[in-house]
Every structure is written in structure tokens, then in C-alpha cells.
């Protein structure tokens, strides 16, 4: 009996320790980032982070600020140009969080991939280049919206208390990331939605324009255009634009870098633009209704001046009475009649589109030569012809003539107008006007409103001041907040 008890006791203690080991049926960080598939999965992680916060709030706010559109409901105060009210501050906070979450995922992968056991040096560079593109894009957006922000890289991931960096440091970092991406990203994108070398060059050109490095921008843009990698999609009728922006489009020759969507995981901004009663081409604008948060109206000079023959006007706007007491027009560039719910419209978010690069190229020439050249005018006309339904490469009756718009200022005005009509509702207008320093003037022209100084930058989130000991609300917050 006694022996039996001792034996049982020993038996129990011996097998004990193994029983307490954990064997989860999931993946841990230590064993990841080694093979090609794992690196590809690592690139998708930061792309996913843009979907919450950034994907809806960024175009929503940018379009509420544009000189041609107005926000409705809780977005209405944005179009008063008095800075963000608390409800909209929570939206800008959401953009901050999703950008930094993407940056974190990039940082972790960038720090782990160099030790990947199953990757060649070339593959490592290629994946790291894709990640640096994404990180560069995230920081470029942060810097444009908030100016000075904390610079978190793969070297200081554990330092929670990070002070703001200067604009120079930030831009130097962004340029370094994008230059690496421009050299090492795959020539053609690995998957539709991952960055290619041209996408990196295009984004770098945009950064150069921001920094007023017109030569650098011009050279990059020229090489992209000359490569004939991209081309404008020709259209004949208003509905043909669906081939570019519609929900069934997977890829076009205009796509440089888009944030992709499917019906399983889509773009909430489309729901934001839609109205339950809006009907396009006999079908509902959005399968799940709509929140109709944006509109334009008669009385806005930029809209009123828009030529009815421009097919883009008919495609991008739709008259719908919203009960506000004046004629209102919904932004209908993006619509998805089959979207099953608010977050599932499958239109992709066109972050960088070929016409953006064309217009930027024309602008760079304008700056470098202190006035347009024929080449610049040709580029502008190509975009314009396509907008009116003509073949982009053939002269058309509506072309601008160089002789009529020979000065730098006049040509710039043409570009400014064309940019509005071409990138209507894509969330690019406000930053474009601000870059050129003409926001106040254009908003006054189109809407008759003045812009308060604090409206130019977003406030740094309160959570940042609460938990980051290196930031102080009194000293580091953007002016006016």
C-alpha cells in the first residue's frame, strides 16, 4: 500500500511539468518573416491598417475642405473653415492612429526581414522596398496634415516617449524611404495593390513638388511618362467612366497606386457619398443606402462654371434634392449598387492615378520654364480631351492653345481648374490648394468664405499628450487647439 502511494506520487510529479506547456494553434513573431509567402503577408499587414480610420475619414475631411464641395450633418462644420469641432477631431484622431499602426507594421517587418532565413538578398530588398513605400506614404500624409510629428522608425520602436521631429528631419526620412523604394520595388507590381517602382517614383515626385524641388519631380515624372507603362483609358460616353472608377474594376492602365477593395472588405467612403434615394443608370447608388455626407450646389462658382459638355460633370455629380433649400448635387464618382453593407463597396481608393502625374508634370514644366511649353500644354490637353470624351492623343476642338495661355500664372490657373474636374471627390483637392498657397483665395472665390489660421493643420490627438511624456499639450499642439 505504502509503495503504491509513493509510486503514484512519483508518476504524477514526473509527467507534471510537460502538462503545463502551452501549444497554441497560431503563429508567433519569433518564427515568422522568413519565407517569401511570409514576407508577402507582412506587406499586407500595413495596407490593412489604412482601412479603418484613414479610408473613410481622410477623403471625408479632405472633401469637406475642398473649394467645390460641402459637408453635411456632422461634417457641415468642416466647411465653415473654423478648424475641427470635437466630433471631427475624433475623426482626425482616427487617421493618426491608423497611419501609425501601419507605420508600426512596416517597422517590425523592416527590422525582421533582413534576417529572413529563406529569402535571397534581392527578395529582401524588394519586400523591404514595398514596405518603405508604404511607410513613406504614411509619413507624407502625416506631415501634410499635422506638420511636425514623432518619427518612429525600426530603430526606436520601444521608445514610447518620442518628441516631435522637425520638418526637415521628417522630409529627409520620407525622401530616403521613397528613394530606396524607387530603386528596389519590382518594376511591375507584384500584385495589383502593392507598390511598383513607378508608384514609388510617382509618390517621390509628389514629395519633391511639396519641397519645391521641381527639377527632381520633373525628371522622375518624365521617366514614368516615357516608359509608356500607363495610359489614359479612353471614354466615349458618361457611363464609360465606370471602366475607371466602377465597383467591378480590378485594374486599369491608369492605376499607379490604389488601396484596393472587394465586396468582402470594401471602402466605406462610398457609403458616405451615397443617398438611399439616389439612382444611377436605373440602379441604386449604394446597395445598403447611404449617409449623403457631401454635396455641391449651384452658387458654388467652380461648379457653376463647369462646362456641361465635360463628361466628367455628368459622371461625378447627380442632382438630388436633400431638402436644404437650394439645388444640391451628390458626388457620384464612386457607386456600387451591389454593396451588401456600409463597409463593403468594392470601389478602390485611387491614391495615385495617372492623370495626377500628368498634371503634376505639366505643373513642373511650368515652374522650371517660368511658363508653359508646348509639351506642357499637350499633356494638359490630353487629360482634358479624355474628360470630354475625345481620344486623348488627337487634337480636338476644345483644346487650349498655347498662345492664349502663355504666362505662368495663366497656365497655372488652367491646371488648377483641370485638377478639380479630374480629381473630383478623390480627396486630393485641399492638399493641392494648400501646397500652392492659394487655399484662402480659391475658397473665397468659390464659396465666399474665409479660412481661419487654425484650420490648416489638424490637432495632435489628446491621447498622444496623455501617454507620451515627451509631448506637452501647451507647447507641442498645433496652433489654435
Amino acid at each position: 500500500m505504502k509503495n503504491l502511494l509513493i509510486f503514484m506520487g512519483l508518476l504524477v510529479t514526473c509527467s507534471c511539468s510537460k502538462w503545463l506547456d502551452e501549444e497554441p494553434k497560431a503563429v508567433s513573431e519569433v518564427t515568422f518573416y522568413n519565407t517569401e509567402q511570409e514576407a508577402a503577408a507582412a506587406v499586407l499587414a500595413p495596407l490593412n491598417k489604412f482601412r479603418s480610420g484613414f479610408a473613410m475619414s481622410f477623403p471625408g475631411l479632405m472633401e469637406s475642405f475642398a473649394d467645390y464641395q460641402y459637408g453635411r450633418g456632422s461634417w457641415a462644420s468642416n466647411s465653415d473653415y473654423k478648424g475641427l469641432d470635437p466630433q471631427n477631431v475624433s475623426r482626425s484622431d482616427g487617421i493618426w492612429s491608423s497611419l501609425y499602426n501601419a507605420i508600426r507594421d512596416c517597422n517590425i517587418a523592416i527590422s525582421r526581414l533582413p534576417e529572413g532565413s529563406d529569402l535571397t538578398e534581392e527578395q529582401k530588398s524588394a519586400f523591404i522596398a514595398e514596405l518603405r513605400f508604404i511607410r513613406g506614404f504614411a509619413y507624407f500624409t502625416l506631415v501634410q496634415l499635422w506638420s511636425e510629428v514623432p518619427l518612429r522608425t525600426e530603430m526606436n520602436m520601444d521608445e514610447w516617449d518620442l518628441p516631435k521631429s522637425s520638418l526637415d528631419e521628417l522630409y529627409a526620412f520620407i525622401v530616403a524611404d521613397l528613394e530606396f523604394a524607387a530603386l528596389h520595388c519590382p518594376q511591375t507590381e507584384r500584385l495589383i495593390g502593392t507598390p511598383s517602382r513607378y508608384a514609388a517614383q510617382g509618390l517621390l515626385a509628389q514629395v519633391y513638388m511639396q519641397l519645391k524641388n521641381y527639377q527632381g519631380a520633373h525628371d522622375l515624372l518624365k521617366s514614368i511618362i516615357d516608359s509608356k507603362r500607363y495610359a489614359l483609358v479612353p471614354v466615349n460616353t458618361v457611363r464609360d467612366f465606370e471602366k475607371i472608377f466602377g465597383p467591378d474594376v480590378v485594374n486599369t492602365t491608369e492605376e499607379v497606386f490604389y488601396l484596393k477593395s472587394t465586396h468582402t472588405a470594401g471602402w466605406q467612403f462610398v457609403m458616405f457619398c451615397s443617398h438611399p434615394n439616389a439612382v444611377i443608370d436605373g440602379k441604386k447608388m449604394h446597395g445598403a443606402g447611404g449617409w449623403y455626407g457631401l454635396y455641391t450646389r449651384t452658387g458654388n462658382t467652380l461648379f457653376d462654371e463647369w462646362d456641361n459638355a465635360d463628361l466628367r460633370k455628368g459622371y461625378n455629380t447627380l442632382f438630388l434634392d436633400l431638402g436644404l433649400g437650394f439645388d444640391t448635387y451628390l458626388p457620384t464618382k464612386f457607386y456600387d449598387p451591389l454593396a451588401p453593407s456600409s463597409d463593403n463597396a468594392s470601389n478602390s481608393n485611387p491614391i495615385i492615378r495617372y492623370p495626377d502625374l500628368l498634371l503634376l508634370y505639366a505643373e513642373s514644366i511650368n515652374e522650371l520654364h517660368d511658363g508653359p511649353t508646348q509639351e506642357a500644354m499637350d499633356v494638359l490637353n490630353r487629360v482634358r480631351r479624355r474628360g470630354y470624351g475625345y481620344a486623348p492623343d488627337q487634337p480636338a476642338s476644345i483644346d487650349y492653345v498655347l498662345a492664349d495661355y502663355g504666362s505662368k500664372a495663366q497656365f497655372l490657373e488652367l491646371i488648377i481648374k483641370e485638377q478639380a474636374y479630374e480629381t473630383w471627390n478623390e480627396g486630393k483637392r485641399w492638399l493641392f490648394l494648400r501646397r500652392l498657397g492659394i487655399a484662402a483665395e480659391k475658397v473665397m472665390d468659390a464659396k465666399g468664405l474665409t479660412i481661419e489660421e487654425k484650420h490648416y493643420l489638424f490637432p495632435i490627438p489628446a491621447a498622444e499628450f496623455n501617454y507620451n511624456a515627451a509631448l506637452d499639450a501647451g507647447r507641442d499642439q498645433n496652433p489654435g487647439y
Partner: protein, 993 residues
């Protein structure tokens, strides 16, 4: 005429029965009462040294086969046993006498039982009769107000029961604060137990009682023991109950005329002209949305229990069915139970206990609450304008968002949600517990048990194509849990002269494996199959699955020693190993020690007649809390899907929490208590004082958003709880005809956070209403956990807007201007119970209350969001700032100037006193005098009416003061549009054969 015939027949039958007995032997009958003459039911009567036994009925009568010269043994809880010899007269009435020591009442403690006089810890007992006094969906809810130190708060009124249980306060920030539930020795969830199966509940409160449960005992232990068969005649009992539930209180929302008048004023202030004309206002109907949505609903319960047995085998079988409809249509909770408890003695040494339970629950949820601007079912019910109908003229649902241009685009039509969405959860819960006991030598026995619990849940969610706010959608999720518990316990008992020793030691192993899976699809062509054909979807969601396993191994031991029945000492120790912690930190050690001194046994008190019991207790112990989820110390990557290349691609990304080396949270507790019995225990008082400190609290260190992480977790932090508990119970009147027992308990707990990481404040989660997105609760050193931390209003500005105190005077409103404005914890909680029985009538009532706790009324913030066309409370129209008011009238106005740009923040405006006193149960019953009518075949027929939550005293202006919309942990005390609580009126009957 019929009555006479019936009587004659009954007499004849009973004569025959008696005659049967007389064939074999004589019959002895009689009545057993206590000293006061009150009849005692259930007294066991047996013929000494035979297997012949019976028990007394409700009138105290018994009848047993015996003859002159036999010795009858009478035994009853609290009276010990008494032997009486049968004389020539075969009628034997017996008066049982309470003995001083008949606190030989047996109390269930961890891993064994002790006599009440030997208990050194703080243990509260609640009888099974009290647990089943009124119908509750989850038996633990019946503990509310019954035991000092146990605070049960209702989180929401959903039919399946949603509540928080705290024993002596909350110990942990991140870990659970729920007590450990042990059912018949096996750790389990009590939610599906049939209340009428419960024999008794013991709540172990202090460390010397709970330390034997080690690492899960820091929050107290609730031991539930179910009824078992008894030897003797078989008995069958049937209970039935039927009641109607209704909403306790409706909110005073505006009617159509008031609503239109109000929005005219708002439009005039903000836009420059009114919107509604007088003709339009006159033509509006009035729709009372609350009355349409919250309707009276029935609840019923049926229970059948059969038990009986012999010396060798005892069996109990019970089956019950409870169906409870919710006051929101299409919500309900059904519970079906089947149980059999078997005891079998193979011989003097070897015994077996087998419990088998099967439960099936079915739930239909309509819990959509919270949200903002009417964006949920409950929110929409309150916020929908009274001028709008739920349906259009053609019968389709009206999309309320489009009714007016200023209408909020978040407002949902409640009927669209009620009728076109359904969420049903069905569960099969099976539990088998087998224990074998073997007596090795005299006094030393071994008990080995194996418990298996297998739970399966399936939730079917379907949204039809008539849903206005999205396409048709189906989802199915499954959860499968399997728990295996094996316990091997040695028990040694020795009783020599003045020494009594009770020792327990053993080893236990527990394992949990949980698996889950889910799938979803949307855009169905037909709604008919609901979730039955998910392959018919046009668009598929991403399916998911999960797996969790954890293991707990323990060694435990306890020695209870008493000397002369006067001095008692208990020492216990437990060593727990858990798989959740990092290697090197997996084991924890939890000891305890306690002493008790029964002063009333000392010679110097033996002459004090009125003092029947005086016992002092003191104990100290350490318990632990597991507090982290499995795999939390491993650096796991979470997986997801994102669109790429026209399809969905898989990504892996780190989670938002940075993991680190973690270990147990431990709680050290001191308890000092006294038990007093006066006047032969007619008055019983128990009082306890306790002080406990929890160390190595797991604390989230929140990281700034620029880090990309939400937080990291560290073992830093300390929390303390101290308090007093008092329980008083007395038999006020106890005689032949009238029995009146009164009992009450009161307890006060003070919670304090002692230290946090870096001394930094930790903020509660943000409550995002879109017009406010801020946190409400604070965890700060020196304050209770989860105090309200908000701005403080400072009157109105010159143009009638809200303004707040700017503490640091810097012109902007930030966290530095917030202050502690309320405390969600009560000053004290109490319960008062009265039971009166007189000549077959039973009358009882039960009050329960909480005093001094504050509530944060998030729903009230909607009254300051004036621009979205939503319905608001009448007070907003009747009492607000107006430019042409006098300054005094404006200063006294409850609400600011009507406008869509009110500067509303979370402030002390929304904090209210949530104290309440509630009549939880009142019931009147009548036991038909079957004995008098000579009916022998039926032992008891009782009918009764009762009401629950029928009367409430409170100052709270929200729907109900019993609410915890965001749970009972850090975000405690928030009222945020949850399923309303109900009051019930019911009647029922009990018949026993």
C-alpha cells in the same frame, strides 16, 4: 355529500393501509414538535437497529411499523438525535429539544464538510428554499441581498440574466473579479442550474476558507450543493409558476406637439426660421414608441422532482422547464433541465456518487443597445420622433432618417430591427460527475472524482432583405467547450477524548479545451432558409476558427484541529501550477491559517443562560487570481484578410498589446469575526471585519498612438479592500400557531487603489457618442477603482451655452481640467427578509437596497444633442435657458439654450445618485389543510401569489438604478441604453405526494 363520501373513502383507505401494517406488526404514530410546540417536518424517525425508517410530514405526523419495546430514534438538523422507547400506548408524541451544541449543523467547506462550531472562517449560508423563492433565469441572481458581503448588481434586464457578482469588492483591474463557482465539488458555471435543485449555497468569503482553492479564490468562492435522495418513502413534488413581466418605469419623452415645438425653437435659433407650421403640428398623430416596443411578457416555470431511497441506494431525479419571454418582442430565454443524483453504498467502506445533468437553453436576443443618435434598438425606441409612424401606408418600414432634412442619419427604426433581425443561441450543456469513496482504515478515506463538462453553443444570426440598413446577412457561430476535472482527496478524521482532528490532502487536475468556428454570408435571394443554407449567399464573409487550451494542476492540504470543542485551529495550503504563465512563473503557493475561540464554552460563561453561543474568529491567508488569457505571454501574430489583387489576401500582424513576463496576482486577507447566539439561539448575530490587499496587479500601461501599440501589460500595482459585514437573524415569535422570522444583513466595503505603474493614472475606455468621444472612469492611486473623472459644469455662458471649470486656467479644455466627480461604489448594501407563517398561511417579503452609489447616465447626454431631430425628455422643453428669461430663471434652468452646437462634454451633469431600496419579493401563500381533511395520499398542496421588483424607492431619473451597461469592472456604474429591467406579478402552486 361528496365531501362526506370522500372522507369515508379516505378513512377506509387509511384503515386498510394501517391494517396492512398491522398484519406484520403494530403501528406507532405520533407528532413531533419542537419545544414551543411548532410541528417539525422532515424529522427522520427510525426503529433503532433496523432499516425501518420514515419521516414526519408538514404537520409533524409520522407513522411507523413498530411495537411496544422498540426504541424509536428521532433525528433532525439542529436537534441532534433523540431516542424514545415505545410504551404500551402506540401513540408517541415527541418534543425535540435544541441542544447547545446542536450547531452540529453541517457546513459545506472546500473539499469537505465541517460542523458549524468548528468553522474558523467567514462563511455565509443561504438555504435552497431562499434560492428558489422566486423564479430567476440564473440561480446566482437569487443571492442578491441574501448574504452580507455579496453584492449582486443587474447589468441589464435581458431575459437570460446579465449581472455582476462581487464578494468583498473588486480586486483586479484586468483580471476577472467574479467569484469561483463550485457545484457539487466541480468548478463550473451556475447559470444553467435549476434553482429548485439547490439544497444550499455556501459563500466562502475570507482567505482562511478560500485559500484551499488557491489561484482562483481571490474573489471568493460560492459552493453550490444540490439535493440528494433520502432513504425512506419516495416523494414526488411538482412546482408550477406563471407570471407577467412589465417594464418598471418609462422615461418621460416628449409627445408630438412638444417635440415639434421644441424643434421649431431649435431651427429658429440655428437656421433662422421655424420648420413646422401650426397646421402641420396639429395634424401630427402621437406615437408612444416606448409603449409600442416594451410590452408585457409572460414567464413560467415547471418543476418535477422525484426522490427516494433505501439505506444502500438513494436517488433524486428532477426535470424542469422555464420559459421567459422578454418585454422586447422576439426576445426570450428558455431553460430545460434534467438531473439525476445517485448515491450508492456498496458496503460499509465503498460508496459511489453519480450526478448527471443535461441542460438545454435557448435564447433569442434583441440586445441592440448603446449607440448614438438612435443608432440601436433601445436608442431608436427613445429617440424616434413621436410624429413618425414605424410603418408607411403600404405596410413597408419607414426609414426615419429621411423624414426630415435635419434628421440624424444614424436613427434606426426599432421595428425594422425587431422584426427583421434575429439572433438565437442554443446550447446543450452536459455535466457528469462521478465520485468513488473508499474507507481505507477507520477514519481515513479516499475520494476520487472525475467530472466532465461538455458545452456546445450555436448562435444563428439572420437579417432579412427587408432590413433597411444593409443587405440580407446570415452568420453562424459555434463554440464547443470541454472541461475535465480529476480530484484525488484523502480525508482523515480522528476524535479522541478532547481532541478532534480533521485533515484533508490531495491532488487535482483540471483541463479546459475550447474550440470555436464561424461563418457568414450576405445578399441572399430568399429569406426563407434563414441560416439553414448559407451556401446560397452571393458574398461570403471570411470564415474563422479558434482554439484555446489551459491546464491547472494543484496540490492541496488542510488540517482542522479542535480541543475540547473550545479552541479551533485551521491551517491550509495549496500549490497551483497554471499553463498560462511564462516558464519559471507557472507555480504559486497559497497558505492560510485561522483560529477560533468558543468563549461561550468557557466555565466563566456557563451560567449566563441568555448567551448560547459566543465565538471569536481570526484568520489570515493568501489567494491568487489567474487574470491573464492563455497564450498572453507568447508573442502571437494575429491573422486577417485584406483586399489585394481583386481578391482577399492573408496578412499576419502583431496584436495591439506588447507582451511581457507575467505572473500571478496575489491577494492577502485578514479577517476577524464574531458569532453570537442569544436566548437558545433564537437570535443569531454574525459580524466580520476584513482587510485585503492585492499585489502584482496586472496593469495595462497605455502607449501613445504613435507607438502603433495600444498598450503593454506589467505586474505592477496594488489594490486594497476593507470592510465590515453584519448579519442578524431572529425568531421573533415562535409558537404553536404563529412563526415569524426576521433577518437582515448589511455590509460596507471600501475599495482603494494603492499603487499603479509610475504613479500614473489609468483611464477607462472611451465611450464614443460621436458628439462626445471621451473616457469617464479613472484609476488613480488613493481612490476607488473606476471613480468618475469628468469636467465640472460652471453655469451657463452669456448666450446660454454650457461652460466648464478650467482648473489650469489656460483657456482650453483638456484632461488637466477634469476632476473626480462621483463614486460608483455604494457606501453600504443591505437586505431585509421577513417570513411569517400562521395557520397554513405564509407571508414573506424581502427588501434589498444599495446606498451611496453614483450612476453615470450616458443616455442623458442625448438631451444636449439638439439638432438631429431626435426625441428628448420633456424637461428639455420645459426648463431651458431663454434669452428673454430673467437671469435667476436662467441660472435655475435645467438645460442650456436650445441649439445644435451645445458644448457638451462628460461632466457632473450626468452623475446622479443611484441609491435605491427595492421590494425584491413579496408573496402570500396558503397550505391547504390536507391533514385536517384526512387526505393521506397528498402531503402538501400550496398555492401562492407573489410579485418581484414591485416597489422601488430611488431618486435616479433614468429608467432603473440597477444597471451596469459597460459591465462591472473598470467601466462600472454606467447607464447607456440597455435592455430595461422588469417587475413581475406571478402565481403558482406546489403539490407534493
Amino acid at each position: 355529500m361528496v365531501h362526506k363520501l370522500l372522507k369515508k373513502w379516505c378513512c377506509l383507505a387509511s384503515c386498510l393501509c394501517l391494517g396492512f401494517h398491522a398484519l406484520g406488526q403494530d403501528t406507532v404514530t405520533g407528532r413531533v414538535t419542537d419545544e414551543g410546540g411548532t410541528p417539525l417536518e422532515g424529522v427522520s424517525v427510525s426503529v433503532k437497529n433496523t432499516a425501518n425508517s420514515t419521516s414526519t410530514n408538514v404537520e409533524g405526523h409520522y407513522s411507523i411499523g413498530a411495537r411496544q419495546g422498540n426504541v424509536l430514534v428521532f433525528g433532525y438538523v439542529g436537534y441532534g438525535t433523540q431516542e424514545v422507547e415505545v410504551g404500551a400506548n402506540l401513540t408517541l408524541d415527541v418534543k425535540l429539544v435544541t441542544k447547545q451544541e446542536a450547531l452540529d449543523e453541517v457546513v459545506v467547506v472546500g473539499y469537505g464538510t465541517l460542523k458549524r462550531r468548528d468553522v474558523t472562517g467567514a462563511i455565509a449560508s443561504v438555504s435552497g428554499q431562499k434560492m428558489s423563492e422566486y423564479v430567476v433565469p440564473n440561480p446566482v441572481q437569487a443571492l442578491q441581498g441574501r448574504a452580507a458581503g455579496v453584492v449582486v448588481t443587474t447589468n441589464s434586464g435581458a431575459p437570460n440574466g446579465n449581472f455582476t457578482v462581487r464578494i468583498r469588492g473588486s480586486n483586479s483591474i484586468r483580471g476577472g473579479n467574479d467569484p469561483l463557482y463550485i457545484i457539487d465539488g466541480m468548478p463550473s458555471s451556475p447559470s444553467s442550474i435549476n434553482s429548485l435543485d439547490i439544497e444550499s449555497v455556501e459563500v466562502l468569503k475570507d482567505a482562511s476558507a478560500t485559500a484551499i482553492y488557491g489561484s482562483r479564490a481571490a474573489n471568493g468562492v460560492v459552493l453550490i450543493t444540490t439535493k440528494r435522495g433520502k432513504s425512506g418513502a419516495a416523494s414526488i413534488a411538482y412546482d408550477v409558476n406563471y407570471g407577467i413581466q412589465s417594464q418598471i418605469k418609462k422615461l418621460d419623452m416628449m409627445n408630438a406637439t412638444e417635440w415639434a415645438t421644441f424643434y421649431n425653437e431649435q431651427q429658429l435659433n440655428d437656421v433662422g426660421k421655424t420648420y413646422f407650421t401650426d397646421e402641420q403640428i396639429a395634424a401630427m398623430g402621437n406615437v408612444d414608441w416606448q409603449s409600442l416596443v416594451f410590452q408585457n411578457a409572460p414567464i413560467q416555470n415547471h418543476n418535477l422532482m422525484v426522490m427516494g431511497g433505501t439505506e444502500k441506494a438513494k436517488v433524486l431525479v428532477s426535470g424542469s422547464a422555464m420559459t421567459r419571454d422578454g418585454i422586447i418582442p422576439n426576445s426570450k430565454y428558455d431553460k430545460y433541465n434534467l438531473r439525476s443524483n445517485i448515491d450508492y453504498n456498496f458496503n460499509d467502506r465503498f460508496s459511489l456518487q453519480l450526478n448527471m445533468v443535461y441542460t438545454r437553453t435557448g435564447r433569442s436576443d434583441q440586445n441592440s443597445g448603446g449607440g448614438n443618435r438612435g443608432g440601436s434598438l433601445i436608442g431608436g425606441t427613445l429617440a424616434s420622433p413621436p410624429s413618425l409612424q414605424p410603418y408607411n401606408e403600404d405596410g413597408s418600414y419607414q426609414n426615419l432618417q429621411l423624414a426630415y432634412p435635419f434628421m440624424s442619419n444614424a436613427l434606426l427604426n426599432p421595428f425594422n430591427i425587431l422584426n427583421e433581425t434575429s439572433s438565437k443561441t442554443n446550447a446543450n450543456l452536459g455535466n457528469i460527475n462521478l465520485a468513488l469513496g473508499y474507507e481505507l482504515i477507520k477514519g481515513l478515506s479516499l475520494r476520487t472524482s472525475l467530472g466532465i463538462e461538455n458545452n456546445d453553443y450555436q448562435t444563428d444570426y439572420y437579417r432579412t432583405s427587408k432590413y433597411l440598413y444593409g443587405a440580407s446577412n446570415a452568420s453562424i457561430s459555434n463554440q464547443h467547450d470541454m472541461t475535465i476535472v480529476n480530484e484525488n482527496i484523502l480525508n482523515y478524521h480522528m476524535d479522541i477524548n478532547d481532541h478532534a482532528l480533521d485533515a484533508v490532502g490531495g491532488f487535482t487536475y483540471q483541463q479546459y479545451v475550447g474550440k470555436s468556428s464561424s461563418m457568414s454570408g450576405s445578399n441572399f435571394i430568399s429569406d426563407a432558409p434563414e441560416t439553414g443554407q448559407i451556401s446560397g449567399a452571393s458574398i461570403f464573409g471570411i470564415p474563422s476558427s479558434g482554439y484555446t487550451k489551459w491546464v491547472l494542476m494543484s496540490y492541496l492540504g488542510r488540517i482542522n484541529y479542535s480541543f475540547k470543542g473550545k479552541y479551533v485551529m485551521t491551517v491550509s495550503a495549496r500549490s497551483d501550477g497554471s499553463s498560462r504563465y511564462s516558464p519559471g512563473n507557472k507555480w504559486g503557493f497559497f497558505p492560510s491559517a485561522a483560529l477560533a475561540w468558543r468563549i461561550s464554552q468557557e466555565r466563566f460563561l456557563s451560567n449566563v443562560d441568555w448567551l448560547s453561543e459566543l465565538k471569536l474568529r481570526a484568520g489570515y491567508g493568501r489567494t491568487g487570481s489567474t487574470a491573464i488569457s492563455p497564450y498572453a505571454t507568447l508573442n502571437m501574430l494575429s491573422q486577417g484578410k485584406t483586399p489585394i489583387n481583386g481578391d482577399m489576401g492573408t496578412f499576419y500582424a502583431p496584436s495591439t498589446t506588447l507582451p511581457a513576463n507575467l505572473r500571478w496576482e496575489t491577494t492577502d486577507q485578514i479577517n476577524v469575526g464574531v458569532d453570537i447566539g442569544l436566548l437558545t439561539n433564537r437570535l443569531r448575530i454574525t459580524a466580520d471585519y476584513y482587510d485585503k490587499i492585492t499585489k502584482d496587479l496586472l496593469n495595462a500601461v497605455i502607449l501613445p498612438p504613435s507607438s502603433g501599440y495600444g498598450n503593454t501589460i506589467r505586474n505592477i500595482g496594488k489594490m486594497g479592500n476593507k470592510g465590515v459585514e453584519l448579519m442578524v437573524e431572529g425568531d421573533v415569535i415562535s409558537n404553536d400557531r404563529l412563526l415569524w422570522t426576521l433577518s437582515g444583513n448589511i455590509s460596507a466595503n471600501r475599495n482603494k487603489v494603492i499603487s499603479l505603474y509610475g504613479g500614473d493614472d489609468v483611464y477607462g475606455s472611451n465611450v464614443n457618442l460621436s458628439y462626445i468621444n471621451d473616457f469617464i472612469h479613472l484609476i488613480r492611486e488613493g481612490e476607488p477603482m473606476g471613480v468618475f473623472f469628468t469636467y465640472k459644469e460652471n453655469g451657463y455662458t452669456d448666450d446660454g451655452n454650457l461652460q466648464y471649470i478650467d482648473r489650469d486656467d489656460n483657456g482650453t479644455l483638456s484632461v488637466a481640467d477634469k476632476m473626480i466627480t462621483g463614486n460608483p461604489y455604494p457606501d453600504f448594501t443591505y437586505g431585509i427578509n421577513s417570513d411569517l407563517s400562521y395557520r397554513g398561511f405564509d407571508f414573506s417579503f424581502f427588501f434589498q437596497g444599495s446606498q451611496g452609489n453614483d450612476l453615470f447616465n450616458v443616455g442623458e447626454t442625448a438631451n444636449l444633442d439638439q439638432g438631429m431631430g431626435l426625441n428628448l425628455r420633456k424637461g428639455v422643453l420645459n426648463s431651458h435657458w431663454k434669452p428673454d428669461n430673467s437671469p435667476e430663471a436662467n441660472a435655475a434652468a435645467k438645460y442650456p439654450r436650445v441649439s445644435r452646437s451645445i458644448a457638451v462634454q462628460y461632466s457632473d451633469r450626468f452623475i446622479e445618485d443611484g441609491s435605491y431600496l427595492r421590494l425584491k419579493n413579496i408573496s402570500l401563500g396558503y397550505n391547504l389543510p390536507l391533514q385536517k381533511w384526512g387526505i393521506q395520499w397528498c402531503n402538501q398542496l400550496k398555492v401562492y401569489v407573489s410579485a418581484q421588483n414591485i416597489w422601488t424607492l430611488t431618486k435616479y431619473t433614468g429608467m432603473d438604478p440597477e444597471v451596469n451597461s459597460l459591465g462591472g469592472n473598470i467601466n462600472i456604474g454606467v447607464d447607456y441604453l440597455t435592455y430595461p429591467n422588469v417587475k413581475t406579478v406571478s402565481f403558482g402552486a406546489r403539490v407534493q405526494f
